[in-house]
């Protein structure tokens, strides 16, 4: 994670790498926003939303999808895809080693998890970014898995929902990763032309190549409260324009005011709200 701390601007770093040291691992966790000490099992039950201040903490892709889809209906898709280091990329560490470490730490093969299942009874394909896997960066596996999910949704005429959380493109895959932007966007355009709904849910944070492709292309773009999303990160912008960024810049509320997202939805209401929208979009009776 250390490289990630360097690319991700300090305000969107995984909650308090420094602070964590003060709180013993185990039963208690500190809310990164209001500092309240939270009882972990309680927090889990609350889908990692702080019961004191309502802050939406990061959540793993699997937990996200399991909580989102109707109980007992989810099954994983395209789990067989694995990254390959065709460029033999090496900086201070080999890409191969970074991949191995991320796989060990997260138990995932790469940064996107895809599932099919029901949402308030509607059959859907849902994908979610695993931010703990190299900052949710989009390399070939993420792009390919996303495109396959979209193609499956097209073939079986199922709505597609994506929860993005990503620092952007994966530098270690260089131009391959850039091309995933075009790949995922092309697959989504086919869905759009076929009149199959795609909902993009922005969760903290979404930047760079992911923001400038699949995350902005929803029939509906929605956001969790307080999520950060933009093309360039705050630090890069500050360095470029040499002025202080306005309060709340690139937060969900800013995105809503600037016409980027349709609405902000609380994590606890996400399933019901999106289910209701999809039922209208696919002309099914209210649940």
């Amino acid at each position: 994670m250390s490289w990630l701390n360097r690319i991700v601007p300090s305000i969107i770093r995984p909650e308090g790498a420094e602070r964590k040291a003060n709180v013993p691992e185990g039963l208690w966790r500190k809310c990164p926003k209001c500092d309240a000490a939270l009882y972990r099992p309680e927090l889990e039950k609350n889908q990692h939303v702080c019961p004191k201040c309502d802050h939406h903490m990061r959540i793993t892709a699997r937990k996200r999808l399991e909580a989102f889809l109707d109980r007992g209906t989810a099954s994983e898709l395209f789990a067989e895809l694995e990254p390959v280091d065709r460029l033999k990329f090496k900086d201070s560490k080999k890409y191969k080693e970074r991949l191995a470490a991320a796989q060990r730490d997260t138990g995932e093969k790469d940064a996107l998890i895809a599932m099919r299942g029901n949402l308030t009874g509607v059959a859907v394909v849902a994908v979610a970014f695993e931010f703990n896997f190299m900052g949710g960066s989009m390399g070939s596996v993420v792009g390919e898995k996303f495109a396959r999910a979209a193609e499956l949704a097209l073939r079986e005429r199922m709505p597609l929902i994506c929860f993005s959380a990503s620092g952007g493109a994966r530098m270690q895959e260089a131009l391959f990763s850039l091309m995933q932007m075009a790949k995922t966007s092309a697959a989504l355009e086919r869905l759009k032309q076929a009149g199959i709904p795609y909902i993009s849910v922005l969760t903290d944070p979404v930047y760079g190549g992911v923001s400038a492709s699949l995350a902005m292309l929803g029939d509906l773009n929605v956001s969790e409260p307080f999520a950060l999303c933009g093309f360039a990160g705050p630090r890069v912008i500050e360095q470029t324009v040499r002025e202080k960024l306005p309060e709340g810049f690139q937060r969900a509320e800013f995105l809503l005011a600037h016409g980027t997202v349709d609405m902000i939805i609380h994590r606890h209401e996400m399933a019901e709200k999106l289910g209701g929208l999809l039922r209208k979009m696919t002309h099914q009776p209210a649940a």
């Binding site: 490289w3 360097r6 690319i7 067989e80 895809l81 694995e82 990254p83 390959v84 280091d85 065709r86 460029l87 990329f89 900086d91 201070s92 070939s140 596996v141 792009g143 390919e144 495109a147 493109a169 994966r170 530098m171 895959e173 260089a174 131009l175 391959f176 850039l178 091309m179 995933q180 932007m181 075009a182 790949k183 966007s185 092309a186 989504l188 355009e189 086919r190 759009k192 032309q193 190549g209 923001s211 400038a212 492709s213 902005m216 292309l217 999303c229 933009g230 093309f231 360039a232 912008i237 470029t240 324009v241 002025e243 960024l245 306005p246 810049f249 690139q250 600037h258 016409g259 980027t260």
Partner: protein, 320 residues
Amino acid sequence: MNLNFLDFEQPIADLEAKIEELRLVGNDSDVNLSDEISRLQEKSYKLTEQIFSNLSSWQVSQLSRHPMRPYTLDYINLMFDDFDELHGDRHFADDAAIVGGMARLEGRPVMVIGHQKGRDVKEKVRRNFGMPRPEGYRKALRLMEMAERFKMPILTFIDTPGAYPGIDAEERGQSEAIAFNLAVMSRLKTPIIATVIGEGGSGGALAIGVCDELMMLQYSTYSVISPEGCASILWKSATKAPEAAEAMGLTAGRLKELGLVDTLVPEPLGGAHRNPEQMVASLRTALLQALNKLDKKDTDALLERRYQRLMSYSSLQELG
């Protein structure tokens, strides 16, 4: 003559200076120095060949941003006839970092669109160093959709450090503008040929780069992030840019090997800026060949091929 030599060209610059000096001496005296001059010219040519036969990725990166390198409007003026520039995105502004319009190539109407950098300080600022804002991408898309309606092929020229990272650009939806272009370009019913003529900087480049045929000039680069950006993130120091350039494999030759680029267009000795006319002639030939090839495909086949090409760009494996 100031040709703006780069660091690694210094030995050539020294020789050229010597030749210039001899010329001046020769003009002022009765001594005939022409033999000596042509000997040195021969030497300079050989030296240039030698240096350019073995460039590092970082040296190519420097060439791709050479201040005298031909820009989009140079190609448009030298290669096309009857260019009419079209302005504005119809929503907010006309972004001078992207230029576009209708022109004729060997008599045939085409839509030409490209990033545009500035030559002098004032123009550099006006063109925002070739870094478009959302309205630039939206103008490009407007012209591309027009090309589809009027059955013109689209020729794009890529030369940008990247999309502009500014507050106003974010407020007006930089991400959305890029994403929308990627989506729509994947299905436009007209051939699209993209050529990287200088810097292919990330999403800001790709936003006019979804195509049926991707060409790169020999000393252009195409990458997901600038070498400096990559170095400062992964190596913690922008001075490691040469290493980052090497690791990312951003040169035309390397990308062709990886199957990400279709055609490498050779540049004149010393780079496009040493002989723009020759550069234009080879690029014109390459563009006409590509157009000819794409003309033979019916629209459905063209679009299916474009889609499948995008789907094929991967570095992954599938476990049985």
